[in-house]
């Protein structure tokens, strides 16, 4: 796990790479990799790579980056973990590859040598990297299928600059800080900036599950090597496979395998534990797989003590029953207020989320952990968000209503009245106009503000252009191309490619890396999704219950019967958020976030 930088002055007219800029970008990511750091500039000064290293696999200096292969023809800057690196290394060695380290980084170099751009299809893990090939003078750039590891670039037509964080790219001083209203509008509409936009015009995210080359003509050969929509589409064709074993067996075997891979580490691994099904089941499955019990970490905001969001007591009982060394970390209002400036400083892109991950990561780091497993992604995988029921219901209702003369008009008027009486969400009036498609209904369900409300947060003159360029409806709709065909498949794809990718995973990355902690997500795994897709499509939401049943000893009823509360932070209580006609007051929080981030 690291922070990486790559600069390639590909055009003849481009100025040489400035070592000071490379250094500045790389150093801005110090917290991502406090163990070591380095930069490399090619002899002709057209290419530069940089890395900050959090040493987790092969702790020796041999694992440091930027790293050359044994023939010194390929050099890489890489952030992430390749969990199947040992298998890949064994295969490469059988084909004659030679290594100078035992790191996963070097496996990437040899894999690129052997398979070129197709190498990414063989990787199991989270990754973002740039490989400079001195033989062809091309740079190869790739990002993992889910987008667990971030990667941003700024390409001015002469030089491409790549880094793990937006703020790091800006720290280099060569990229204009012009704000992008499309990215800003995206933040207010969704609560996080939808990829590939950022809040800066010059910076874009490398799309998850894609790779490309950069040569003297600029970036070329963009290739999508993983599509969640396609996985669900294929899973539908293979639905009969789901009947070979019981759902519980399938889940136990495949999630168990994913956990095995996610435990590959040369340093101790901990677990984020709540009293929810995903993290408890994950912990229960992981515990027998390790020699030393995993340390478990729970946070409790003291204002929640004894209230519905207090998961500490149940988590503590559960951890003790498993024999886990357990830490319940209490977060007080004072600490929260003290940390808020650092929180905004670390926030890489504006988001309404990330507070919980910030504090639980901080707690894990205090326990000297460098790696922690997290159960995030379970709700997206097993369909346990309300969106899995609500989105198809909205689509069905609007479709049915639109067949009736004046049906949509009547629905719109009714919802308008209810909204005025505060009996319906502020978003409700958008239902008749856009709720007839999965993209529209999903936006209503997951959206923060509706487009007509942007005037309260943006200049009116900026909005039209921002919305046109953002093209949110088309963007969301493109996530379910090819059509996964089933309601479950569509919503699962949208959750994974929109909310989880743009918010949950991105926030988990910056909020944990700010504490030099690597968070691993066994339930967010491209291979796992391929393996489970047939089952998920045949059993849908039942899979969550079956997943709970995979724990070697049954989960306590205090956990299985616990109402779903989500991972809440006391923003309303501690930030005195203004009433915004929503129960969570996230709209008010978004305004504060944007001001403080800006």
């Amino acid at each position: 796990m690291c922070g990486i930088t790559a600069i390639f002055a590909y055009h003849d007219d481009a100025a040489d790479v400035r070592p000071a800029e490379l250094e500045a970008i790389t150093q801005r990511m110090f917290a991502r990799g406090p163990d070591a750091g380095g930069t490399w500039v090619s002899p002709d000064r057209r290419v530069g790579l940089g890395s900050r290293r959090l040493a987790i696999i092969d702790l020796s200096p041999e694992g440091e980056q930027p790293m050359f292969d044994v023939d010194r023809e390929l050099v890489i800057a890489y952030n992430g973990e390749i969990y199947n690196h040992r298998e890949l290394r064994a295969q490469l060695e059988r084909s004659g590859a030679r290594f100078h380290s035992s790191s996963d980084t070097e496996v990437l170099l040899q894999l690129f040598r052997a398979h070129g751009e197709r190498m990414v299809e063989l990787l199991r893990g989270m990754f973002a990297f740039a490989i400079w090939d001195t033989r062809t003078r091309r740079m190869f750039v790739a990002r993992d299928p889910y987008g667990i590891k971030p990667l941003y670039y700024a390409d001015d037509g002469r030089t491409i600059r790549i880094a793990s964080q937006v703020k790091a790219l800006l720290a280099g001083g060569a990229i204009p800080r012009t704000r992008d209203n499309a990215g800003i509008a995206g933040f207010f509409l969704l609560g996080s900036v939808p990829s590939p936009f950022t809040t800066y015009s010059a910076i874009r995210a490398v799309e998850a599950g894609t790779s490309f080359f950069v040569d003297t003509h600029g970036s070329t050969g963009r290739h999508r090597f993983y599509s969640i929509a396609e996985i669900f589409r294929k899973g539908l064709e293979q639905r009969t496979i789901a009947n070979l074993t019981t759902a519980r067996t399938t889940l136990r075997e495949f999630v168990g395998e994913s956990i095995d891979y996610h435990l590959v580490s040369d340093v101790p691994v901990g677990v984020f534990l709540s009293a929810g099904i995903d993290s408890t089941t994950l912990t229960a499955l992981a515990m027998p797989r390790v020699r030393e019990p995993l340390r478990t970490i729970t946070i409790l905001f003291d204002v929640f003590r004894g209230r519905e969001f207090d998961e500490a007591a149940d988590a503590d009982t559960f951890a003790r029953a498993l024999g886990a060394p357990h830490t319940t970390r209490i977060v007080t209002r004072d600490e929260f207020v003290t940390d808020i400036p650092k929180f905004f400083e670390a926030m890489d892109q504006p988001t309404v989320d990330g507070v919980n991950t910030w504090f639980v990561s901080k707690a894990a780091a205090e326990q000297k952990l460098k790696v922690a497993l997290s159960g995030i992604g379970g709700d997206e995988l097993f369909g346990s968000y309300p969106a899995f029921e609500d989105v198809p219901r909205i689509v069905k209702t609007v479709t049915a209503v639109s067949r009736v003369p004046f049906g949509k008009w009547t629905l719109g008027r009714t919802l308008g009245v209810l909204k005025r009486l505060h009996r319906a969400s502020p978003k409700a009036t958008a239902i008749p106009s856009i709720g007839g498609t999965y993209a529209g209904a999903y936006f209503i369900k997951r959206g923060l503000l509706m487009p007509d409300e942007l005037t309260s947060v943006m200049r009116a003159s900026d909005i039209d252009d921002a919305l046109q360029r953002l093209a949110l409806d088309e963007r969301i709709a493109s996530m379910i191309e090819p059509d996964p065909m089933t309601p479950f498949g569509r919503v699962a794809t949208l959750e994974a490619t929109m909310y989880m990718r743009n918010q949950l995973l991105r926030d988990t990355d910056w909020a944990s890396m700010a504490h030099s902690l690597e968070v691993r997500t066994p339930l967010v795994d491209a291979h796992l999704l391929r393996q489970l897709a047939p089952l998920l499509l045949s059993r849908g939401e039942e899979c969550k219950r079956e997943f709970a049943g995979t724990a070697p000893t049954p989960l306590p009823t205090a956990i299985t019967n616990r109402p779903k509360t989500g991972f809440q932070a006391p923003l309303h209580e501690w930030m005195s958020l203004a009433d915004d006609a929503t129960s969570t007051r996230m709209r008010s929080w978004a305004r504060i976030v944007f001001e403080r981030y800006a």
């Binding site: 299809e121 009969t240 496979i241 070979l244 074993t245 019981t246 067996t249 291979h527 391929r530 393996q531």
Partner: protein, 356 residues
């Protein structure tokens, strides 16, 4: 010791379970304490091969279901047995007529989820022991059955002397048009109800493999009602010239069939064990099996061949390409783990454990 074996098919049978039962009977007949082995086969579609000593093969039982029950009832009324072996979960209700505590043999997918009737699910809990052809099947069986008695793993056996690396059979090369071709082979039933063998997965990676290896063909050896769909699929993928269906294959020609192959690939999801892997490896063919079914045990978890995730096309493609470019034909060291004498030892150890 007198043993009664109820089985689906054995001598005169066809396929993996029949073969397992034949070897089981031969191994049982070598047990020093065996006085007589009485076998009730449910089916005998082919001529019966020579039986092992001390074995009585009740052919009349195979006539129909009523005859099977009649023969069973007659046998248990007239004779006493020290051990009743139930050779398939589908026969459990009948085995219960003979004893409350049979020794059950599980072969694969039939034991991976609750059985089809309530009686069987009840009887299974009282078995004297459960033998599985792979640890995967054993674990999957235990996952749902709540069975708490002794369990055993008894992998299939291979007669190494019946295979070996041979010259490619000219007749077969001509019959299937394989002259000058490199061959990826899969042997298995092409059944609509068994779409887990991995034929689809190999066909899907064929276009890219053919681009890399223009002389490559994929031979699918086996008959069944799913062949038309697979043929259509090969057309859809533009590899109809490279996918060859042999149809049902004569068992006697199997060793020659395997020797046609440069790679044996079966990225299946449903093998209890996968005897075909042993046959391929015994013929010196580089072999690719699945990580996620019993095939991994046939390859001793990757020691004897390559394991792939059937859901990962890139992994399958790379494994086949590696095998074509890298692996010479050889009989892998360690394959004798599955030699028949080892099978006999394992069978005797199980019998001594459940019927001391």
């Amino acid at each position: 010791m007198r043993i009664l074996l109820l089985c689906t098919d054995a001598f005169g049978g066809y396929g993996g379970i029949a073969l397992f039962n034949r070897e089981l009977m031969r191994a049982l007949s070598e047990h020093p304490r065996l006085e007589e082995l009485v076998v009730l086969p449910r089916l005998i579609p082919n001529p019966i091969e020579p039986l092992p000593p001390k074995t009585r093969f009740v052919e009349a039982a195979a006539r129909n279901e009523a005859a099977y029950v009649a023969q069973l009832l007659g046998t248990i009324r007239r004779e006493k047995f020290d051990l009743v072996i139930c050779g398939h979960v589908n026969l459990l209700p009948l085995a219960r007529m003979a004893t409350k505590h049979p020794l059950l043999i599980t072969h694969g997918i039939e034991a991976w989820k609750p059985l089809r009737d309530r009686v069987s699910n009840r009887v299974v809990k009282h078995c004297r022991g459960v033998v599985s052809v792979s640890d995967l099947t054993r674990v999957r069986f235990l996952d749902w059955s709540r069975y708490e008695g002794p369990t055993f793993v008894l992998p299939n056996a291979v007669r190494l002397d019946q295979y070996g690396i041979r010259e490619k059979n000219r007749t077969l090369i001509e019959r299937f048009g394989l002259g000058g071709k490199r061959v990826v082979l899969t042997v298995g039933r092409l059944s609509v109800s068994e779409r887990y063998k991995g034929f689809d997965e190999v066909i899907e990676v064929m276009p890219e493999l053919v681009a890399e290896f223009p002389d490559l063909v994929y031979v699918i050896a086996g008959g069944g009602n799913d062949a038309p769909r697979l043929a259509r699929k090969s057309v859809e993928h533009g590899v109809e010239q490279q996918v060859i269906f042999t149809g049902l294959f004569d068992e006697a020609m199997k060793a020659d069939l395997y020797n046609l192959a440069d790679v044996y690939a079966m990225p299946s999801r449903g093998e209890g064990f996968g005897f075909v892997f042993l046959e391929a490896m015994a013929s010196g063919v580089p072999t690719i099996a699945s990580k996620h079914d019993g095939g991994r045990e046939a390859l001793l978890h990757g020691k004897l061949g390559m394991l792939v995730d059937p859901s990962n096309a890139a992994g399958i493609r790379t494994a086949i390409a590696n095998a074509l470019t890298r692996d010479a034909r050889r009989i892998p060291e360690g394959l004798d783990y599955f030699a028949f004498p080892r099978f006999v030892e394992r069978v005797h150890a199980i019998i001594d454990s459940v019927a001391p």
